[in-house]
Amino acid sequence: MTTTRLVITASPHVHAQADTPTIMWNVVGSLVPLVAIATYFFGPSALLVVGAAVAGAVVAERVLGNRGSLGDGSAAITGILLGLTLPAGIPMWMAFIGGAFGIGFGKLLFGGLGYNVFNPALFGRAFLQAAFPVAITTWPAVGAQVKWWSLRGDNLALPFMSPRPDAITAATPLGLMKFEAKGTSLFNLFVGNTGGSLGETSALLILLCGGYLAWRQFLNWRTPVSIFATVAVFSAILHFANAKYPTPFFMLFSGGLMLGAVFMATDMVTSPVTNAGKWLFGLGIGVLVVSIRVWGGLPEGVMYAILLMNAVVPFINKATQPRVFGTRVVKEATP
């Protein structure tokens, strides 16, 4: 017994199982089906674009990040999510730069995991949107017009060379709605058989994957539920006031709303820490999404809605502090 070497740690001496890398890698795992269905719809281009975005994020994290920070899996999430928000035909070097920019400027410049204000994937995408407005809004068509294995654009273009515009493109449902006043079948929206970014097309699969994460408590369900409810109510009011506005179903299942609400607005680092704050955060995103889509100059507003709400998270946190036990205001008769 005299040779026993004792360990001294602070209480509590037992811990719950899930740690941060477990959460992060579970999110990565739940994104794999989305990449798979994107590959089904968009062919090998999907893999190339997502791969390039991941490579950019991972290289930036490895070069600029703290030692060992790659292992927590958060850079991989950023890369995959960014890839899923890009069109299939975008050149790989752009996706790479977007991933590197998202991690480098969107996350590491703020201090790395846990300190960033903005969702790194959307930060990278916003950069790409500003830098390459044409490439990021060229939507390849989905379906029978092209062979599965053909590239959906000039994925292999060299950096800073103009890509060859030879792909068959198609407008996104939101683009059709906004600029051509055309509808899209709700079933296609739900299953994902529409034009759009790689990962945003199949609402069904996004809900399934998000449901898994919520069930494992790796994702707080309040944020997406709040966003969906807000968008549904707000757009329903608009639709019934004036039928030229799209139906709430169309609003919910088109564009990047599903992907953004389930996988980006729920980013723990850049969303409020309180449950009341999560409801508020979702409300703000919902209002902004519908406003941008209906009255803004862009067909899609999920990215800016989330980034704008990211910026006010500290204020939401301050405003929604929980009521501490034993501090309920008791009305007492004042003499």
């Binding site: 017994m1 026993t4 004792l6 360990v7 001294i8 740690t9 602070a10 209480s11 509590p12 001496h13 037992v14 811990h15 719950a16 899930a18 740690d19 941060t20 890398p21 477990t22 959460i23 927590d72 790395g112 995991l113 846990g114 300190y115 707080n220 723990m268 680092v269 969303s271 820490v273 309180t274 449950n275 999560k278 946190n317 502090q321 929980p322 009521r323 501490v324 036990f325 034993g326 501090t327 309920r328 008791v330």
Partner: protein
């Protein structure tokens, strides 16, 4: 039956650590042999330490006073075994420091007969005499906090106590001390409740027991007196159900106001073991000389519920339980959620030691910490609705005043936040250190400054 409507409106939040109580839950309490030496610290309770009244070389009998209470917020300590005082000096203390203690070489082959004394019948005593007898008996909260029991029996004159809650929740994993007391000595628990009710003039007593101890609930029900209002209330199994404020919320449905004492709601909470001890000092006339300790965990060969003389070194307690296993890694005094890891096998068992939990080396591996990702799990765990995430951010940059504004003072250090934190941030440890820092800052401020 109770004429009051009990509202078991459970407290919110909390965590569910694995219980591991099966190691000792069914093992009857047994008495351990007297060790060859006991070491009795003068500080075994919250409040002022006891004042030394013996000298090196003195012979003491079992039950003799070694240190007397230093004022009302203090309790005496007694010799738990007859023998010779061989040393008075600094000794490893269960809280991790070294503190003044009296080392007694126990007389070999002694029958350990205490000095004869008169035992007054408790019913003939006035409430203040009972309070004095409880203090002289050295009874302190046996649930871990070791708050002097008699202080809670003498509330301020302008407040009246309606309800006494006996805490039999025992929500810490591994521990079965209170469980076995309730199963084996339920009459003592009820007698303790009766004495306290009379002392405080309380109308009713509620014994709260977590539902994972059905045999304890059954034993208490079977022996429940019918001439006074005593209720046995099964509680949801959830940590920290046994925290005073949580238990009060569960039993009477009201929150103890921040910064106030339970007595402001007309409630006093006592541990069931303390209640049994009060009964015992009036049954035997002996002060608190021994306590029941659960010795358990994967690092102990033969887990047991032992009656241990106060001051027994943990080395002797472990030897009584077959010793440590080869993969023993950490020895914790108390439960694994709030207990202290000890650094020396010479550390003595004190009155507040509810258990000795020996964790396996694999359980104590040093876990990598990650930055806070603001997942909010700690907010959903905190039973007093703090924002541990934000408090942790402030603690890291030593902004103690901001922490105080976020109600750091309401933190009970229950460890629920640390338990759930996926980034393994030692939140409870940081808050404990911040509380000390805040106390130092306040003490350093000149008097009169706001």
């Amino acid at each position: 039956m109770s004429v009051f409507t009990l509202r078991p409106s459970n407290f919110r939040h909390g965590v569910h650590p694995p219980e591991h109580k099966e190691l000792t839950a069914a093992r009857p309490i047994r008495r351990m042999h007297f060790p060859s030496e006991v070491v009795i610290p003068l500080r075994q309770h919250a409040g002022k330490p006891a004042k030394l009244v013996v000298r090196e070389g003195d012979h003491v009998l079992r039950g003799d006073v070694l240190g007397e209470a230093d004022g009302f917020m203090s309790a005496p300590v007694h010799a738990s075994a007859s023998g010779k005082v061989v040393e008075i000096g600094l000794w490893p203390h269960p809280d991790g420091t070294r503190d003044m203690a009296i080392r007694i070489a126990v007389e070999p082959f002694s029958p350990q007969v205490p000095r004869p004394r008169l035992v007054p019948y408790w019913e003939s005593l006035a409430p203040e005499e009972i309070v004095r007898a409880v203090q002289q008996g050295g009874v302190v909260g046996l649930g871990g906090a070791a708050f002097p029991t008699h202080v809670k029996l003498a509330p301020p004159r302008d407040l009246s106590v309606e309800t006494i809650i006996l805490n039999g929740a025992e929500c810490e994993p591994y521990l079965t001390t209170d469980h076995r007391i309730m199963v084996e000595y339920p009459e003592r628990v009820h007698l303790g409740a009766r004495i306290m009710m009379r002392t405080l003039g309380a109308k009713r007593a509620v014994i709260g027991v977590e539902r994972n101890k059905p045999d304890a609930i059954a034993a208490l029900e079977r022996t429940r007196p019918t001439d006074i209002d005593v209720t046995v209330l099964p509680l949801t199994v959830k940590y920290p159900q046994g925290a005073e404020k949580m238990l009060i919320k569960t039993v009477i449905g009201r929150e103890v106001p921040s910064g106030k004492l339970p007595v402001s709601l007309g409630v006093v909470v006592q541990n069931v073991g303390s209640a049994a001890s009060i009964a015992e000092i009036f049954e035997t006339g002996l002060p608190l000389l021994e306590r029941i300790v659960t010795v358990t965990g994967p690092g102990v060969r033969e887990p047991a519920n032992l009656i241990v003389p106060v001051g027994t070194k943990v080395r002797d307690v472990l030897a009584e339980c077959g010793g440590l296993t080869d993969d023993a890694g950490e020895i914790v005094f108390g439960g694994p959620m709030m207990g202290n890891a000890i650094a020396s096998l010479d550390t003595p068992i004190v009155k507040g030691t509810t258990g000795v939990v020996v964790l396996a080396r694999a359980q104590t591996r040093h876990e990598a910490t990650y930055p806070c990702i603001h997942c909010g799990r700690c907010l959903d765990a905190c039973p007093v609705f703090l924002n541990p995430s934000m408090l942790g951010d402030y603690a890291r940059v030593q902004r103690y005043e901001e922490m105080e504004a976020l109600h750091l003072g309401d933190c009970m250090l229950c460890g629920s936040c640390s338990y759930v934190c996926p980034s393994n941030i030692p939140l409870a440890q940081m808050f404990s250190a911040s509380k000390s820092a805040l106390r130092r800052i306040k003490a350093a401020k000149p008097a009169g400054a706001a």
